[in-house]
Every structure is written in C-alpha cells, then in structure tokens.
Symmetry: D2
Subunit: 346 residues, 4 copies
Amino acid sequence: MKVRVGIVGGTGYTGVELLRILAQHPQARVTAITSRGEAGTRVDALFPNLRGFYDLAFSEPDPLRLADACDVVFFATPHGVAMDLAPQLLERGVKVIDLGADFRLRDPESFARWYGMDHRSRDWLAQAVYGLPETRRNEIREARLVANPGCYPTATQLGFLPLLERGLLDAQGLIADVKSGVSGAGRTARIPNLFCEAGDSFSAYAVAGHRHQPEIEQELSVWAGQEVLLTFVPHLTPMIRGIHATLYGRLSSPMDTAELQALFEARYQGEPFVDVLPAGSHPATRSVRGGNVCRIAVHQPRPGQIVVLSVIDNLVKGASGQAVQNMNLLFGLPEDAGLGALALLP
Amino acid sequence: MKVRVGIVGGTGYTGVELLRILAQHPQARVTAITSRGEAGTRVDALFPNLRGFYDLAFSEPDPLRLADACDVVFFATPHGVAMDLAPQLLERGVKVIDLGADFRLRDPESFARWYGMDHRSRDWLAQAVYGLPETRRNEIREARLVANPGCYPTATQLGFLPLLERGLLDAQGLIADVKSGVSGAGRTARIPNLFCEAGDSFSAYAVAGHRHQPEIEQELSVWAGQEVLLTFVPHLTPMIRGIHATLYGRLSSPMDTAELQALFEARYQGEPFVDVLPAGSHPATRSVRGGNVCRIAVHQPRPGQIVVLSVIDNLVKGASGQAVQNMNLLFGLPEDAGLGALALLP
Amino acid sequence: MKVRVGIVGGTGYTGVELLRILAQHPQARVTAITSRGEAGTRVDALFPNLRGFYDLAFSEPDPLRLADACDVVFFATPHGVAMDLAPQLLERGVKVIDLGADFRLRDPESFARWYGMDHRSRDWLAQAVYGLPETRRNEIREARLVANPGCYPTATQLGFLPLLERGLLDAQGLIADVKSGVSGAGRTARIPNLFCEAGDSFSAYAVAGHRHQPEIEQELSVWAGQEVLLTFVPHLTPMIRGIHATLYGRLSSPMDTAELQALFEARYQGEPFVDVLPAGSHPATRSVRGGNVCRIAVHQPRPGQIVVLSVIDNLVKGASGQAVQNMNLLFGLPEDAGLGALALLP
Amino acid sequence: MKVRVGIVGGTGYTGVELLRILAQHPQARVTAITSRGEAGTRVDALFPNLRGFYDLAFSEPDPLRLADACDVVFFATPHGVAMDLAPQLLERGVKVIDLGADFRLRDPESFARWYGMDHRSRDWLAQAVYGLPETRRNEIREARLVANPGCYPTATQLGFLPLLERGLLDAQGLIADVKSGVSGAGRTARIPNLFCEAGDSFSAYAVAGHRHQPEIEQELSVWAGQEVLLTFVPHLTPMIRGIHATLYGRLSSPMDTAELQALFEARYQGEPFVDVLPAGSHPATRSVRGGNVCRIAVHQPRPGQIVVLSVIDNLVKGASGQAVQNMNLLFGLPEDAGLGALALLP
C-alpha cells in the first residue's frame, strides 16, 4: 500500500519539485495538493512538465480533508503557515514534513527575532526533529514532525561536519561564502528575480544577516559540542538551480591533506546522498542538477587553512528531495526510494 | 536477462545522455563504451553526474570485443564513422542504432552531396530503417540497423505529419523556422560554442542549406505521397537543451481550428511520447527538458495559414531518448522502458 | 544651448536606457523625470549604472512643471498614458516623442480593437508622425508629436522595405518569425518574466495576434502601395537584449542573389544606423547590443524564396536610441548625436 | 595630434575591448593591430560590433613597423610574448602597456614559479611600473613600461587597500572569495568554456593556487608595510562579464561601521573610477558592465569581522579600460578620456 501524500502550498518551485519526484516514487502517491490562489487549476496546467503524470487539481487547504486523504503532509509554504495548520494534522495522526522555516530553530525567541513573528506552536516546536538524515537519521525515523533543513544549511553543514564533529576547527571563526541559483528565491513575482535583473550579473545580498545563519550555527554547535560562530555571506548567481558553498575554517592543530581526505571519506562512507570527491576536485553545481546528492571536496591551500567546496541542487537535496528522503525514513521505506535519478548534464 | 549495450563515441553529449538514461533502464545494461581520445578514463571522471552509477571506463573501439560484449551498439559519432564500423557488428548479429547521419538519407548521392563524402556502406544503407517510431514503429521492430533521426527532423516531422499525411497542406511551400539550444552543436571545443560567443545572443546559421533539410524532405515526401519542398532556417538560442520548431504551411482547403485540433489529437492518440497541447497553447522547451516527449500546439492565426509549434529536448527525444525508444522496439521491450522521467522544471 | 529633456515614466528599461544615452549626448540634458511610484527616489538609487552621471530624482508627473522645464518630453509609459498627458504639453509648445503605442496606429478603430480602449486624443493622433527615420525622415523633422515605432516593427520593416518598396514581393504572404530578449517584456514583476521561468527555455507567445502586427502592416502597406498581410509569430528567447527577425517572402519575379544584395545596399546607403552585411552573413543580436544600429542580411535559399535576417537591440534602435534619433531630427541636431556608442561584445 | 596606438594580439576579448574603447577616444587612434593567426582579416569581420568604426586589418607582428606606426603599444597576449617583443619597442622609444602577466611580479623567481618559464627580460622588469592608478598614479605618469594589473587583483586590491594602508587588518588572515564571468577565461576554444559546460552552473577552480594570488600579495604587502598572506579562491559564474570579490578580514582593533564607511569614502574621494556605495549596499556586477568603474561596499556583520564587496567589469577596469586609463596617464591626457561610457543596464 502506498503512502498517501498531501502537499500544502504547491504552486512554488519546491511544490512542483515534490510532484516531479513523487511521480516516480514506487511507494508513494500524491492524493491532495492545496493552493488558495490556484484552487481548481489542474497541476499540469500550471506546470506542463507534469502532463501525463497527474490527474490532480489544486484544492483549498482544508485540514480535515487533508487528514482523511493523507498519511503525511508536506508544507511547501512561507514561514508562519505550517505552525498554524500542521498541529491540526499532527493531532489527527498525520505526519508532517515542513519545508518552510517554522520548526527549524529550537529557540522560539530566536525564531521571533529572525522571522519577525511570535512562534504560535511551541509545543510542537519542542517535538520537531531537524531533518538532516546525515546527523539525525534515527531521530527522524521516530518523528511525527520533521523540520526540513534550509538549502544553504544543508550544503554548509555537510561541508563543515566532518571537521567540527572531531573538534578540529577553530569554531569561532568559520566563514561560509555561499552562492545560490535564482530558484532559491522562489516562484514569486518580484523585480529582483526577473530575468533582466538577475541574469548576467552576480551580487551578494543580506550581508548584515540571513535567516539561515542561526539555523546553521544551532546545528553545528550541537555537533561541535561548543558554540559555533559563522560569518555567512549569501550571493545570487545567474543560474536556475544549485548551491555552491565555499567554506573557510582554520585547523586547530596541523593535519595533512591526505588525513583530511580520509576523514571526509570515512565520515560519509555509506551515506547514500553524500559524495566525497577525489582530492583536488572542484565540484560544479551542474553535477547535481536534478539529483539528491551533495558533492564535497576538501582542500588545504595553506597549512592550517581549510577550504571545503560543497554543492547541492537547492530544490532537491536542499528542499524537496531531502523531504522525500525524510518521508522514506518516517515510513520505513528504503531511504533512496524515488530518489535514484541522475543529475542532468549538460 | 538484460540487453547488453555498447556505445561507440561516448564522450559527447549524446553519449553521456545515453549513459544517464540507460543507468535507469530496468532491462538494459551498458557493457562497453569506446573513445579513442579518452580510452582508460572512467566515464564518471569525465561526467561527474554519473558518479555512483557506473564502474566503467572508456575503451578503444574494437569491433570484435564489442560484438562479444553487446547485443546492440549505439553510435554516438560524427558521420563517416558508423558506415565503416557498424557493418562489422551487424555481420556478427549485433543490432546497431546510429545516432549520427550515416544511414538517414536513402539516396547515397544525396548523402555525398550534403556530407561531402562517398557512402561506403550502400548495402547496409539499403537495409537501414529510419527510426521515427511515430511513422515506422513496425519496421523498426524488425530492423537490424536503425538510423536515429536528427533533432530538427524529429521536431519538424512530428509537427507537419498530421496535416501532410492527409494531403491538407500545400507541400511545396513549407517553412520550418527552428531554434536549437547550444548542446545541439555538440561537446566540441569551437569558438562559436563558447559561453561568451553563444551566450546572451541569438542568430541564424546555415540559411543557405543545412543537412537536416534533405532528411526532412525525404521523410515528409514519403508520408505526403508527393514531393515536399521545405525552406529550413536553423537558429542558435542561448540555452543548453531544447529545440523549438515554428512551422508554417498553407491549407490546401479551408478547415476550422477545432477540426485542426481534433486532427492532431487523433493522430497522436496513444503515442507514448507525443503530447498535443490544448488549443491556443505555446509549448516552452523547458516543459520537455530531460524528458523524451514532443509537445505540439497547432494554430491558425489567419484563415488558411497554419502555424505549428513543436518542442523537444534535442538530446532526449531528439537523440539519445529516441535511440533508447528504438532499442526498446528492437528488443520487444515496453516502448517506454527507461524513459519515464519527467522534465526538469524549473 | 542644450535641448531640455523630460521623461515621463522613467522607471522601466526604456527609461533607464534614455538616461544612459542622454548622459552622453553633447546637446541635450535631462531636466525632469517622473514616476508616480518612485517620486522622491534618486534615479541612481534605482539604477546604479547612473551613479556619478545624474543628480536627479523622480518627481510626480505634472504637465505644467514639465512644460516649463522641457523642450521635449519622452513618454516611456504603457499605452493610454501619453494620449491624456501629451496634449497638455503639445499645446504649450513642448514637442513629444511617445515610446508607447498611443500614436502608432493611424486608425483609432484599429487602436481600440488591439489595445482595448478608445482613443482619447484623435486630433493629435491625426498629427502624429510615425518615427521611423529610414522612411519618414523629413516628416519627422517637421513634427510636433512623434510616435516612436515598436521594437518588432522596427526590425521587421527595415528588413522588408527594400523589396516591398519596389513591389518585388508577394505582399499577401509575408511571414515574420521574430525573437525577442526578455527586456522586451519590460521591468514588470510578472511570473513569466522571472529568471527561472524565462531562463534556459524558448517559446512562442501570442500566435493568435500581437499588437505589433497591425502596426507593421499599416506601415508596410504605405510603402508597398498595396495591402500587406503578415503572419507574425513572436518568441521569447533567454537573453536580456536583442531582437532577431527572420523574415520570409516570395519574389513576384525572379531575381538573382547579387541583385538582391545590391538592392539592399543601395537602399540603405548613407543611412547612419542601418548596416547591410556582406552576402551570406548571419547577424547575431550581440553585434548590436547597446548600439543604435540595425544589421541586415538577405538570403535566397531557394529560387524565389527570400529570407531576410534583421537584428536590433530592442532597447536602443527598438526604443530609446531611435527616440533620441528622432529628437535629433526634431531639433535639427546631427542625427547621430549621442548615438555613437559601439555595441558591447562579448 | 592623436596618440598612435598599436595592439599586439588583438583577437581576444581584451583586444576587441581595446578597439571598442579606443574607437571613441578623442585623443587616440589605433594605427596597427597584429595577429599571427588572423593576419589579413579585417577587424570588423572578426568582431562585427566594430563595423563602421574601423578600416583596419590584422597584420603580422613586426616590431619595426610597430615602432614606426605607434607611440604606444598594448600587449593583449598570453604571458611570455611581451617579454620578448616589448623590449624591441621600448628601445625605440615606444611606450608599452602589457595587459598580460609578464611584468607584474617584481621577483623573477616568483614569476618562474607561477608561470612555468624563466623571465627573459629582467632589466625591463626592473623598470616596469605596476599600473594600478589608485596606488601608483605618479609613477605611471613617468613610466615607459606599464604592467597592467590582473582582473582579480584590481577588484581585490581596491577592496582591501583602505584598511590595509592604515594597518587596520590582521594582514596574515585575509580571504578573497572571488567570482568571475566566463570572459575572464579568454576567447579560447576549450571545452570548459563552452556554453554547455560553463552555463547554468557554478564552480570553484584552482583552489590549490592561482597566479593572481602572488600578484595581490606583492602589492598589498607594499601598502600594508608588512607581509600580507591571502587565501584566494576563484570561481567561475555563468555570466559573460564581471568580477565580484567578496573579501574577508579581521579588524586588528574595534572600529564602528560609520568609521569604516567614512574611511572608504575618504580614501577614494576624487578617484574617477572608484565608487564607494552607501552603507549597507550590495553592488551587482551588472552595475559596472561595460564601464571602467569599481564599485565597493564595506560591511561589518559581526564586530571585528569585515566583509568588503568589490565589483568591476573584468574586461574594462579589469583589463582594457584600465589599460587606456594608464595610457592617458602616460601621455598626460585627461585620465578619463575615452572612458566615460555608462554601464549597460539591463
């Protein structure tokens, strides 16, 4: 019997990406998808790549109907939506995976500071599991509510973890210089995201502070066993998909490059969706376009100075693919079910 | 038992695309891939999207070894290669699908004129089947040697066929204004294909004559039952994948738009890889990116003036996907085996 | 003394392009620029390429202040604005160049049909001069109100004119297959213009009818001396600037290719902004990026079948550059004043 | 009388950019341009944006003819060319501006190590002046041989200089995370620079060491008055032009953000081609596309942690524009002659 899946807020890029991935999942089936603005529209009218795969239309979000129709509901919504609606589903025994930010920050005060609103579901926040399988696989298996990580946090954590978990880096001086394709800004009609504004140009944004920074610091601090401080500078790059994190840290004691390489390979041995490249590599985002994998290379250009390069597809391992990976864990399915697609190159 | 597949000339974009598609084919397995220039290199060192899916290296092309290791061999080579090498495989009972141009033109004189070399395998040319399943499905099933259609010819034929087969168009005055992504030019280090030459610009090329024109005229003439003359103008558009054919013809007698729409829908009913869009649609190439489908819309902006819009992914339905579709037919497999992937959008 | 220039509606791409061009005009100076939405904002805060060149802020549109401050006012507004505001300026002796569509169609009924609103300034419409210098240079010199041509109409007319003026084409069967960069859609926050929607994809739009078609037919009919019927299919191509028109027509009597070439060269001899390329050429849009030139090549791939390739920068010769060219004519300045910039390549 | 300019190696992007800029220079005129591969070809046949501006063809490089025809010669050549040819011109009194790398590193051993060849012109190397006007304006005025800075070094130095000159940064822990458009890789037919390889993707390269790093360290060490150590990570971003440097440093003692801003503004007050943006800004590369300006913003996201954002057009301020700026200084012309063009936006 297939897992019955609902999607709330399916008109954005993470929504269509969930539909794309789930259309080929052997053990799941989308039974409901909601959108206030597009209720009544067929999903394949909005997203023509779905033609022939779905006979489904957007409906108004209705917790009772969702609870009836679904074993799990993905929230592909802006922050502030899931915290109100998810509890009504959870209380009816439906599992929830929130691709938004409502349940990522453990501390409701931090949430209020970074997202500009009070947290209205503190009980469920306390029960939410941060859904990075590479750190919390077993917790996720037992969870009812999964907070799917942000895109930058996924690429950044996977790059820093092998070193921080072992205490090998100066945890107070980390730098993440991260670059995102424009789909990270969502399917929202804003001038900065226009082809003629974002195209053929490159810029940083939000240098003064980005919401993914406290999320990364929170999680890395857990695994480092000490407070991690991160300088985090996001950039917009003129491509559709992909995140490239260039991560800088100082070794707390000398280590040769072969040891570094071995450390990364050992840490991710057996991980289905983390690929440590051979020493000296430079992963390109296109090597993960459409795939659920994170590719990582570690360098030491000067003694003690570490540079980690980490790439993901922001819509797959950075959002919808990781969400399906979490669903697989929640329901005891093979972790890679539905996620076997190779990246599209070129 | 899986079909054992060989690929000759696998370092180009149709080569990596064959590998991507076949990695997920449930009834086929790549057992050999050749390249003179890259012999000894692992395929996933050249194409990192393949990491984790292949444990295979390029080898020198050797007909005997290929014949031993393979049930079918794909040629992803420039014209002139398959005509020499394929006969050696065919004679040993290996089936051949040529993604190049050697066996597309029935008339060796025409081949010589357009490709600048004599045809050196006229016997096999006479036995080759032109591999457009939508017109020659049964012939393909019985074939030993399939000439996989060109990318422009696939999009153009599928757009014109419903009208020409019924004698509804003035066959002497067809126009195909076609636009291709840059991957159509191959993975060859030439200045016009550089990012800074082809990017952020649009131009026509080869207005005086392009090799795909006689191929289209040959096939359309068969199905029109009369000589078809086509004005064919190809253009390069700054995107990676995709072909958009804008096709112009004059109706030989009046027909209303609803009839036109019905004609197209009837013609392609049941075709697994042709999708006739609702009346009034404008297919975008991204709706087929990475998928093996051709999406078509038919318009009549003035009485008697037909405009057909037809889009494919040049590397999939325009090359490697169609080649796998042909392989499925050759071996009695489900026609869509391995070809179920949805297009990647955005 | 410099011509004092006003710009109404300066927050779009034609607005910033007027500012860019006029910053280097030796005999003109922008004295006012209006925007309801951005009144009070400095122009260089909105468009950082202007930093160091302007000490000017957007103001509310006020006809009296504009009339005081300006010798000429450019309207870079959606249709419907200039027809109300321009008369108030014209009556005060200010010359007007409308980059919008209000005064392009001679027939107010046609305007109403294509633009969905009545024409509210029929008297001025009757006095407006269509501002294509290559056909109406002397009329423009004497005009008070210039209707600046659309982008597609400029490229299309310049390509067809040499043949149509001489009665050499079948005027009832013209086809214009035109392709535009995304800036043609303006600086408007709409989903189809997002980087992730328009990028890496190609599609047609408005096949059923586009407002530039009657404009082209109107003008070409004048110069052909008979009714011209045009099939017009616009496409969106993933680049920022540029229009490429591929124009198809049938010769009414045979003509060899050298004659064709000579005809085009003679027609545009001495034209400062039309460049007829050598026979066999394929102009790329990047060869005109940022410049006020139209480059044209004429081909005859089959006897009697003409293909003209015509490229412009839609924001320069297709809008703001041509508007400045018209201003120069209106004020008796050298026609190329301020328009000498070379295209940016790459 | 105009300065007579020669260009050696004019078939690359810095060559065509010199031609574009010099076509509008009021006091200079290109009298010779050389290329072995294209001798005899008109420059406007290779670069159609030049049509109508030049009546010049490439010639074989011949020092005697160049010395006769030119007051100054630009070398737009790969390293190793200028060191052999420039001395023959210099000895005849011709001034030389090398856009390549032959005269940038003061230490010939360092040159040999980074460029893999001995320096064959050590005498002239000792006399060369590093051509960054913002640091060495007066030296350049007196120079005979100018080493035009690299593109990354220009953006990086201008970003770090205000702080390093005052000793305000920990000079041993600088990081430059730099991103370049693809034109930085030149007009060379190499697979990694193809549209389908570099497009819609992002990657780092040369993390182990890049030739611009010693150049930056050399110059910054001069102005810091101590040895500067830089971690330098270059990236390729899918756009044509532009460099974005994201620069990280630690303050050696606390400083508030307003002081920082004031420091940058004071340092570049009066500089014609450096623009310090208002506090909180994020410069985009498109704001300098085609212009000779460097735009800079300084941030302090955490106390003591500095982030400087610095953008240039790699072909203008990063190469040919700066070279013309240097020529202006060499010949006592207004420093901004020929360099007044605004950036092209969008």
